[in-house]
Structures are given as structure tokens and as C-alpha cells.
Symmetry: C2
Subunit: 189 residues, 2 copies
Amino acid sequence: MGIEEYSAKILNFLRKFRRMPSYSEIMKLTGFKSKNAIYRLVNKMIEADLVEKDSAGRLIPNKLSGMVRILGTVEAGIPLSAEQEKAETINIDEYLIRNYESSFILKVKGDSMVEAGILPGDMVLVERGKLPHNGDIVVAEVDHEWTMKFFKKKDGKVLLVPGNKKYKPIVPRHELNIAAVVRAVIRKY
Amino acid sequence: MGIEEYSAKILNFLRKFRRMPSYSEIMKLTGFKSKNAIYRLVNKMIEADLVEKDSAGRLIPNKLSGMVRILGTVEAGIPLSAEQEKAETINIDEYLIRNYESSFILKVKGDSMVEAGILPGDMVLVERGKLPHNGDIVVAEVDHEWTMKFFKKKDGKVLLVPGNKKYKPIVPRHELNIAAVVRAVIRKY
DNA sequence: AATAATAGTAAACGAACGTTCACTTGGCAA
DNA sequence: TTGCCAAGTGAACGTTCGTTTACTATTATT
């Protein structure tokens, strides 16, 4: 087994148990029978930049684990690998989510928001318990039906405007339950 | 200081150092002067579901740290909180990214892909070193200029088609450098 | 075949871990 | 004021940690 496979097992452990394994646990993961073997294996992994050790000497995941590099804009293009290393990094979850307790993901089925760049099949990240501002995209229950629309206020009246000229704005008749505000759109190809 | 503030400090430590702090380190974070105080504090946090301990008795982040719940579709609506607890969860990074080493984020400036649901200001997650398939969205350098377009092959010739009728398809004259394939679109409101 | 270098096992080390016990302090109720 | 409970300190405990040392087995080189 190669060093990459071992580090993959370690990172699998991290994902599964939400912490890095101890040397004894890496023994079980890899099949080695001595801690010394792990000690040297880990040193090789550090040299290969597969994992890291912090100032206290504890094993931690690589800086790139869970972080993606930001390279600028499309128009500026993609620089050479040398400059990529210095690039700023972000964690997508942290970038998108303020409060995990109140955040949820919904899948989009209809085409009522295509003109706002939300296509059928997209995932929307919504947040509950927030008051919608004018122009926000909201997930709402209107007269026993769920939709995603622009939230508009005009003359004190609430209007739900679709992002598609095919459909007409909705004026809630009986009930209006703004369940969540759309915070982000995620589309995977 | 309340228990939530303490747990916030602990999760800040986790984000910063990529591991959970030891009890001694929590002492420094919180200002307590004895490990016993931490021991009881941690037990309270576990009762309050702010952190967890695994089977080996080690402190690990809560299950929801880094995970978002999936609630179904927009049309099906948002269920009551009781059902939310049982919801499936995903980690957005893991969902979107296959290989961190070859993945990058670019910001979109132009409007050449609006009809494909990619608006100016959106972030695109791109992957380097992959061969584009017909219909993929790619970031390419054509005749010394960078653009994002649909990658189309017709009769053995490569065509770069914009997702906006305002613009015309590009037939590369001298150079064509497909730098990356767009894997995902991320839009934050 | 002899040698050196590499990679593994096994055992022992001090240090740090989380836990427990005994004691002290501070605030509230009787 | 007295007594009680909750909350914090401090020290000691056994366990596990990562590291080191010593030795053995395997592989490659001369």
C-alpha cells in the first residue's frame, strides 16, 4: 500500500469520527504492528504535505483539507501553479453558513426563478427564523401551497414575485407563511 | 460568561487549529484555573448538545458542525422542527469537491453565461486537469483572452458557445487553452 | 556471498491526557 | 448567623499519548 492510500484512510477516519486518529488507531487502520512504523509513516506524510503537525506536535489535517483556493476572476484567468500555492483559501461551508441550526438545503423543482439564475435541480441554502427584507428570495406557504419567490413589499402589502415572466405575481389571499429566506444557491454539474 | 460563549470559543479553536482543544487549552480559552472546572463545563456542553464525545471518550464537534440538513424540495415545503431533526445531512464541501488539490474558485464578472444561470458576481468552482466533455462549461484562454463558455465539439472542431444570445460563438483562431472545467456554481445573497 | 540500507517489530520513556478526590470559596435560604 | 449547595481550585491518579531506543527482517548493491 502506498503512502497516499494510508493518508486517505486517515482522512476517512477524520471525516467519520470528526477528529484525527491517534498513532494506535492508525496502526489498526493501516495494519502496522508497531507505533514506530506509524511514527515514520507520519513523518513521510508530513514531508509529502498530506498531513500536518501543529505547534503542540499534534497531528492535524492539511491546510487544504476543507479549504479551496481562490484564484481571482474568470477574466483574469488561471495563473500558473507557482502562484496557486500562495492563493487565499476559503471553506465553502463557513463562507455560506452563519448558523447551522437554522440552515437547511432544499432542492428546486420548478422554473419559477430561472430569470434570477435559479434553475430546476439547483440546491438552495435557506435560513429559518429570519425576517425577509424587500427583494429577498423566500420559501413561503401561500394558501396551502409552497413556492419560492421574490419577497416584495408595496404600500404595506406583501407581493410574491416569480423570477419568470411566464408566471404572475402572487397576492396572498388567506394565509402567508414565510418559512425561510434563501441565502445561497448551489449548482453542481 | 454563558455556556454558549464558551462552546463558541472551543469551536473557534477548532476552526483555527483544525482540532479540538485539550482541557488544558480550554482552561486558557475560558480563563478557568482548574481542569476539574473544564471537566464539568464540558459535561454541561454535552448535555446541551453543543459538543460530543466519541466512544473513546474524546471531545469531538457536534454532528451538525459542518453539516447542513436536507429537507427535500421547495414544493414539498419545510416540515416542522420535529421532522427536521431526523433529516439527512451533508457537508457542502464534500458534496461539491472531489479533489482539493485541483479545485479552485473564480469570481464571475461578465454576463456571458446568464442564460445558463451563471450571473455576474457568482463564484464558480472549477477543476483543473480534466478533459472537458461536450456541453461542459469551461474556463479557457483563447487568443490571449480568458473566458467562460460552453465547450462544444462539432465535426472535430472546437466551438466555445456563450450562454447569452448577445454574444457569438467563438472559433479559436490561434491558441486554445482549456484551463479548467466548471464543476459547480455558488451564489451568496 | 557479503554488505549496507531500508522497513518493520517490540519495549521503555517522559509528558500530557481526562478523570477523580479532597478542599475552599461565594452566594442564597432558612 | 448558620447551614447548605453550587462552583472553583489544586493535587493526585491511572491511562494513553507521541517519541526514542534497540533489535530483527527484508531488500537492494556491490
